[in-house]
Symmetry: D2
Subunit: 344 residues, 4 copies
Amino acid sequence: MIEVGIVGGTGYTGMELLRLVARHPKLRLAEITSRAEAGTRVDELVPALEGAVDNVFTAPDTERLSRCDVVFFATPNGIAMESAPALLEAGCRVIDLGADFRLRDPAVWTEWYGMSHSCPELLEEAVYGLPEANRDALPGARLVANPGCYPTAVALGLLPLLEAGALADGPVVADCKSGVSGAGRAAKVATLFCEANEGFKAYGASGHRHLPEIEQTLARVAGAPVDVTFVPHLVPMTRGMQATLHVVVDRPLDELEALYRQRYADEPFVHLVASGGHPETRWVRGTNHCRIGLHQPPGRPDRAVILSVIDNLTKGAAGQAVQNLNRMFGLEETAGLEGLAYVP
Amino acid sequence: MIEVGIVGGTGYTGMELLRLVARHPKLRLAEITSRAEAGTRVDELVPALEGAVDNVFTAPDTERLSRCDVVFFATPNGIAMESAPALLEAGCRVIDLGADFRLRDPAVWTEWYGMSHSCPELLEEAVYGLPEANRDALPGARLVANPGCYPTAVALGLLPLLEAGALADGPVVADCKSGVSGAGRAAKVATLFCEANEGFKAYGASGHRHLPEIEQTLARVAGAPVDVTFVPHLVPMTRGMQATLHVVVDRPLDELEALYRQRYADEPFVHLVASGGHPETRWVRGTNHCRIGLHQPPGRPDRAVILSVIDNLTKGAAGQAVQNLNRMFGLEETAGLEGLAYVP
Amino acid sequence: MIEVGIVGGTGYTGMELLRLVARHPKLRLAEITSRAEAGTRVDELVPALEGAVDNVFTAPDTERLSRCDVVFFATPNGIAMESAPALLEAGCRVIDLGADFRLRDPAVWTEWYGMSHSCPELLEEAVYGLPEANRDALPGARLVANPGCYPTAVALGLLPLLEAGALADGPVVADCKSGVSGAGRAAKVATLFCEANEGFKAYGASGHRHLPEIEQTLARVAGAPVDVTFVPHLVPMTRGMQATLHVVVDRPLDELEALYRQRYADEPFVHLVASGGHPETRWVRGTNHCRIGLHQPPGRPDRAVILSVIDNLTKGAAGQAVQNLNRMFGLEETAGLEGLAYVP
Amino acid sequence: MIEVGIVGGTGYTGMELLRLVARHPKLRLAEITSRAEAGTRVDELVPALEGAVDNVFTAPDTERLSRCDVVFFATPNGIAMESAPALLEAGCRVIDLGADFRLRDPAVWTEWYGMSHSCPELLEEAVYGLPEANRDALPGARLVANPGCYPTAVALGLLPLLEAGALADGPVVADCKSGVSGAGRAAKVATLFCEANEGFKAYGASGHRHLPEIEQTLARVAGAPVDVTFVPHLVPMTRGMQATLHVVVDRPLDELEALYRQRYADEPFVHLVASGGHPETRWVRGTNHCRIGLHQPPGRPDRAVILSVIDNLTKGAAGQAVQNLNRMFGLEETAGLEGLAYVP
């Protein structure tokens, strides 16, 4: 069994990790830390885990964590970069579900995250953990930067197009929508039930931290900068994310569909829906899957609308982290990720 | 008092009309028809109206309806066009909340609505009831085509831009989101609570009936065709609609804001939110208001993102119909539309 | 115009008061205080009030408040009792939407609210503002204790039964359900969207502060203590409250219905639904109405189930406060409370 | 592998069965029937099952079904009783998730279900599949009547009390609440999103079909009739059910807790929450677990409030059916039922 540590298990991403680790056939939760909840049983905080998780939260302690084979950071930005060097030094691998190692350029990181990076020397080594784009870099990786939720949904929606050079000149509009769990479990007025329920709004329309990550990923795949506009929105539901991608393309819809179908034929977690279909977030709820639909606006043979849906907490965070771990440790890539969405 | 008739008062648009008419200081509900509910008291079907509406549904009867001063059609497409000529003949005015008189070109109507138009000779006379674009055509109008919900949200978001010629070359992306009430009150599996709750999806991405209406309106205002892509989405909430409009512009954000502020300064129902703000659908719930926010993506001085929110049943349907009636009959434009959204 | 002050306008009860006061024909909002938001425009915090409320929050100041004709306290428990004496002294009337003046016995208050009462001498004067039980005590009252939401729903469901002595021996079970807005607008994890959404739970089953208030009210009406068990639950919706009252009765259902119908015949805000009907909270959303349904379990002629629904923020708080004000100042009891629920 | 057939896989209960069977280590879905969807791939109707279920719906055919080892009926009441005799005759076992075999007395069945029973001779043989009450009758059973959702939640909440004779004289009030999925997947206005969302109501307060089943189960356990009143309510959420049970007891709370803890110590799916806790439906979402909390109203040592929560589609239907199958076929009782609820 691979011994796993989780730093920050009291947020939604950490809770989702707990659920997945608890049922993973090859993982054992050795350590889970929370400064605020040290001494509390995990299943007291998350009663849904009663009978499945016996651990007790401990105060973060690098020495204890470093005995794990791998440590997940499900922490606010800026925490993982403080602890990662010592853990790596001790031979422990690290998967950061935060943003600390996602951007290659520390100056861009500072611009968007408002702090200077404490270990820029690790940025090059860090593998960007989007297996569909980066699968071969994962086995043996010591440090993985788990992608953001929006960048995951956007990148999976555009990968085949960019790899094939089928994107024509013109802006890419990434109009994205997320369930409220993406805002985290911190107590804030804006995410109270009565504030988020029965309403819809955009946020961060003048600039959101996931934009540079999206730009970096698309540019890597395309081999050149991609002109992308990104606007996130908040949907009154707990889980789920959709990227609606409006693009200019160089080929008709049927060829695009063939391209996507072929590109994702062997991917365990990415699927094209039937022609003309609209994927729904509830089909992937609680799973590591991404479902994609392709459309062409009427009378616009040079345009396409790509619909890409994921669960923001699973493929957009904890599920992808487990998928990355599976690759890093040579396990079956789908291990522990076979659960089905409940419908309804 | 103006005597009002409503044809089709059992759907959500009709119910919203009932609520507004019941509290309007100058209107009296003389007639309300429903073939299925003839003989039923209105407040038996809609208990929220108990004490406010005494009427009983009657079977549709042109003779009785024609005694009204004005008749609203809150019916499926294709019904109003069958009855309107006789009512107009009898001196009764007509406001159609359906699509029968929205498109000027009967061939386009047939293409999108799948039936031939029964009174194309009325299409030219019909006033497109978007008061912000068409205010002066309403007084005295006999026949008003009440705009669709998406076309209203999109048009109000783009009017100042188009009128000022500030839209630069490049596609307009209208990524739109609607609450479930837009799908109507017919019993369908797709809009059951357990199907629509906790999920998000696009629909009609390959072509939706509101597209030609949007194109027609934008072209009228701009004086030339506008290249627009329209994708609607379903949000798990009852009421509310947002159009997120991604555009290429010829001037910086502060000038755009000044333009919008000036254009809408005297509009009773359209307001710009504070700079940098994101309007929320819940702020306009149950009201006839539209709130608009303007943003510029970081580092893209030639782009703008326009956020336009309305209540799909009010400004997007019944409220706008009452606003149109007010103009048609020389009443205060805001009469009966002063109700405030409840928050939360 | 009656000059109104509101202390604590940033919670949900205060916002609902603002909405009602803004459209009340005889009230003018003279003063609204909030320590945290002093200097902020009200419509910046509550954009739904833009155009309807011009006020700016001020720091609480007894001198300024005392110039109002009446001051509403929409504050946490323990605040109103500190300020009320000075305001009353200055000739200003007070309506407390909190619990400070609801319980007659200061010892009981201390037991349940954990603080000693600062002006027990006012408790006798304070009128318990449930107009249906206490209408004649309101005109001219200086100090009104606005009832809690649960006590309102329970009392209105039981009034006719208790007044008629139709309650037989046996416990009254008040199984109550509230929307999340009842928990207030303070930032707490337990009322985050993702915690309250898609879940149902009881709370306070071992004792809730509304119990002694319910007992006091029922005892007053019945003229003797009533054996009542009260369990509140949290429903994943924003507004709405239902009390399901399980009672033992001395007469058959048709006589009970006649009793209720007669008792509430002249009440402007309390109505019996049609025989066999189940009232729904959405019928009274945003309104001051209470709707009641009566049922008899099959084969149990001595039992009844009484269903009583209100909007917890309106009849359960701010609407009832306005109704009380209307009575205190000799206005039409329904003034400013004519708004209809929107359906859907 | 055990070959499984499902009759009626297009409702919510059937879909939940599909999810559980698809991941069960010992079951193979051999046959799934639907008259309306014959020829359709299951994963076309339920895209969440793509990759997990390869079957195609077939028209119901007793001959084909009888080749299965066991057939689940997830059908409207009255269907299973028509087909069961032939299947049993052919050596196939039957688990009915409908009501056909739940009531022992065919006259009571007819009274509540409005049809005469077509095979009353099987009623005695049918095992009532509540394993916690009836575990030993399941191995080898040919015909199992899977309990209703409300009867399951109520019975599990009362079992220890009844078995110990700790229920004192006085009525049991079962005030129950269900998510909307309990109403099924048929297209009806009453369960449209816009009708059920943001509202709460009781239904069936004058008599609901689950009452005689509750009475029968409680009487069997108690050895005498139990005086129970049952009122169900509809909660605006998809899944989840709570029974709030108000009872008169003969012993103090700590003894009750000890009683429950001991009674359920070895049950894999029934758990007492920590003292003073309130179980939440979301903790058991999508799982076969029941969580129970015990409370005593303040100052009422002879009363108790028992809170029992389940997922209406899982422990209340399909999960319990699989648990029954596991017992019938000598499998591990928890096989295929280890999935954890996702939180949030």
